[in-house]
Symmetry: C2
Subunit: 519 residues, 2 copies
């Protein structure tokens, strides 16, 4: 009783600080080693107490929550948005897996070492190799783990750009929802507490400096900073940050990459901001590669966000079609190069004033057979249909003869087994013979943040100065930096999220338990 | 008196913290918005009190100190090393200036806008344009300002790579010492207090959260963290961080760029570490472009550090000579491209095992006429002399006929006024006719950190969360990030350091004064 009063007082103070921080008045709050002040630690008291608190409910967050709950932990998942899943439910649901049953079935020779090699090449050697190996090594087991929890993969393996062999599994739904929904079901069955509209506003440390909880704003209507009410939740074993990237945080991304203005669209959901990253940095987390921001090379300027073209181009035009400059009707890059190479190539197509000249990706009915968003793309007029190549050229104002000649050169390449023009791998390539043809205009959109906080192989967030873990703080998925280096390969975010989310949960669960007090 | 006791207690506590931080035990100290504790601010008391404290004594630091002292401020400069000047005294002393008297004299048309354009191109568009314009706009006036304070420029203007016109002034000594020494003289005359062996260990804030001083270790023997004794110095107007880059901080640079191992040499002095950057980050400073680390393309594997080759190649081979692959005797890049393009090109020269095949840069007596380090390079056998091209080919095991043919193609390019091979600008180019020839083997070394803390045009350090200034904290020179984007052009570090150092001093001096107490 006697020590309730100071406690409540200081707790109010803390929550005031937190609100102030969120409202942008942080300078006063940031103490670091500098504040000229006398502090005496007080024992924090919490509204609710769990073993593990997971912040974010995408691939990494839900994998962490389910893993921890199955291991026997009392788990809380919070998400600031009104729905769970973040970007993970609006992406393509494709997962790169080294050594899957489907590869075996289709006789594709693959290995963890080869996947690492591919990702190092795409990452321009900037990758955190230890974490990269941890992710690749875990893909086969994690794909099976997802399957056992309700994910249904398409019955064929795909070949995405930058991967030297076909190794992509994709959910039946062609959406990450095919992974998130089943995991939420399992989480509910396992008694995981899940709150939406609950925004992280700060961390709580105990007297040893270990992070033992979070300060949140609950019943919060994003992005109304002042909505909702403050709460403190305790974590006896750890807080796992599965808070994703900042692709939609236009101010923050422009500080690193001024060219990524608000005129450039993003495939991300509106909640993909840098708020959680900043809170970790204020704790001394070490940010790596923040200026490595990926543009998705498969999106279309003729619709907003991820839309219908991204999936169509990924599964149809890039794997089974060609991308040409509308001014020449000719290819200008390897359609199976990594994302950075493709996005950079597309963005070189500009007129004398520097304005974009949108290239066109196209394939035929055979090439589009697996594209579930074709119908929607046609309905919204993002994808256009033509019976002949001449008609396709007509639609996009391309020189028909050049286009026809280009397709013939491609078919010749398939017949000879070598793409002399751009060295594209041809394992799954086929000749483009008859129509109908399907075309789509292309221009990159901000898609993924390679950068984030530095972690060790226990998924512990490392401190800038000590290079040691910030005790009690874990991170997984896009919130971490270094795994992908300068450019992430397609379908490697699901792999990263699921593997590192589970890894964080295992290590947090294995950590020692601290006793916490309820308010 | 009465409030001395708690003060001293808390000061001891602070200094303990500081020591702990330096010793790597920071987690406990890092409070951020999270610490569950009750703090009551205490009035800091200082061992010495100044108006402005400058941390670091390179171009930015000395320019700031002299500007502030001339404006009437009481100034302290501290440097952790036993000598002043840092990297600035071991660099080439070359300054890019748009609109110098020498350009006028030699009829070179230049403008601030053109210099900005050149630096944006080198920076791959990642530059902080406002800061970039501030720097370029200040170069002509700052070059004159240095001249008036004792710097003597060579009587000719030079053309460095990436600059579209000759705009480089260089000190008579071909060293930054030609700038630092005169500024130290002026500083002494103006009564600036200057301490070596004094390392920053933390900042001191007042009750409003304004930074009003520094915690340091004085009589400190770098890198012996435990040497020396703690002191607190007050700054009534502001602390200016002119703490440079982290090119020699192998751990920190590898976190961002794993390829920059300890096997890769650096041109930097041993004190070029990330310690000061980390302290700013713990205060909430926003780090930009930390993974943009520049390799100097003019250094030699046949000597340590900056050495003799860097200046020789800068002034002789790159401006008046050629760089060839020893296996072919042929050029493979534009010798006047920007640093990144040249370093990247050189590092592609490897054998089948990936081992470096050092290219050779060479020119003749006429091309080497201005190279003051030629004699030393020959003495140390870093630069080799040959009477004929055949002899030069012999020395480096190059095909002589190919080398002779390459030189003939170059001379043809000079005659026709167009370098058809690599598009090198030819304003100051001349034919390479007779020997003696001077050759040097080349391989890049870590040279400069484009990244650093984000500042506004008042050189105030901006907070990660608020995007507002961290009151009382300024930064200038290499310690800041964003001005150069992905790649700094040669001679732009002196320009940046002097212009932004003076800018920081002017704005710190113009800020309101806070009253501080002596211990």
């Amino acid at each position: 009783m006697s020590n309730d009063k100071p406690m409540l007082a200081s707790r109010r103070a803390m929550l005031k600080k937190t609100a102030a921080l969120a409202a942008g008045g942080a300078t006063l709050m940031v103490a670091g080693p500098s504040r000229a002040s006398e502090c005496k630690p007080v024992t924090p008291k919490f509204d609710e107490i769990y073993d593990i608190i997971v912040v974010g409910s995408g691939f990494a967050g839900m994998a962490a929550a389910v893993q921890a709950a199955e291991d026997g932990a009392k788990v809380l998942v919070i998400d600031k948005m009104p729905v769970f899943g973040g970007n993970s439910t609006i992406n393509g649901g494709a997962m790169a897996v080294a050594g899957s049953h489907l590869q075996e079935k289709e006789g594709v020779k693959d290995s963890v070492a080869l996947m690492v090699e591919d990702m190092l090449a795409a990452g321009r050697g900037m990758n955190d190799k230890k974490m990269l190996e941890l992710v690749c090594d875990g893909t086969a087991e994690s794909a099976k783990w997802l399957e056992e929890r309700g994910t249904v993969w398409k019955p064929f393996v795909q070949h995405f750009g930058g991967h030297s062999v076909p190794r992509i599994l994709q959910t039946r739904e062609s959406s990450g929802a095919g992974i998130i929904r089943p995991l939420i079901k399992v989480a509910n069955k396992k008694g995981v507490t899940m709150y939406t509209q609950t925004e992280l506003r700060g961390f709580v440390k105990n007297e040893d400096g270990r992070i033992v909880g979070v300060q949140v704003q609950s019943d919060y209507f994003w992005p109304k900073k002042r909505s909702g009410s403050p709460k403190m939740y305790g974590a006896r074993k750890g807080v796992i940050m599965a808070t994703g990237g900042f692709g939609r945080d236009i101010d923050f991304r422009q500080i690193q990459q001024p060219s990524l203005t608000d005129e450039l669209d993003s495939t991300n959901h509106a909640g993909a901001t840098a708020d959680a990253l900043k809170l970790m940095m204020l704790e001394g987390a070490n940010p790596v590669h923040l200026d490595q921001i990926q543009l998705g090379p498969w999106s279309s300027p003729d619709e907003k966000g991820f839309g219908t073209a991204s999936q169509f181009n990924t599964i149809a035009t890039y794997q089974n079609g060609l991308v040409v400059d509308v001014r020449t009707g000719e290819r200008f890059f390897n359609e199976l190069a990594d994302r950075k190479a493709r996005a950079d190539a597309i963005m070189t197509r500009r007129d004398d004033e520097g304005k974009p000249v949108y290239p066109v990706g196209f394939t035929n009915a055979k090439g589009a057979a697996q594209a579930q968003t074709l119908a929607w793309g046609l309905k919204y007029d993002v994808i256009k249909k033509a019976d002949t190549l001449e008609e396709l050229a007509e639609i996009y104002g391309m020189p028909a003869d050049k286009l026809v000649a280009q397709v013939e050169r491609w078919n010749e390449a398939v017949r000879t087994g070598e793409d002399k023009e751009f060295g594209r791998p041809l394992m799954q390539a086929f000749e483009l013979k008859e129509g109908p043809w399907y075309g789509v205009r292309m221009w990159p959109k901000v898609h993924y943040c390679m950068g984030g906080v530095r972690v060790n192989t226990h998924s512990e967030v490392l401190h800038l100065v000590t290079n040691k873990p910030i005790t009690g703080l874990y991170a997984a998925g896009e919130a971490t930096g270094g795994i992908h280096g300068a450019s992430r390969l397609g379908a490697c975010a699901v792999a990263e999220g699921v593997v590192t989310g589970r890894n964080a949960a295992k290590h947090a669960f294995a950590s020692n338990t601290v006793e916490l007090q309820l308010a």
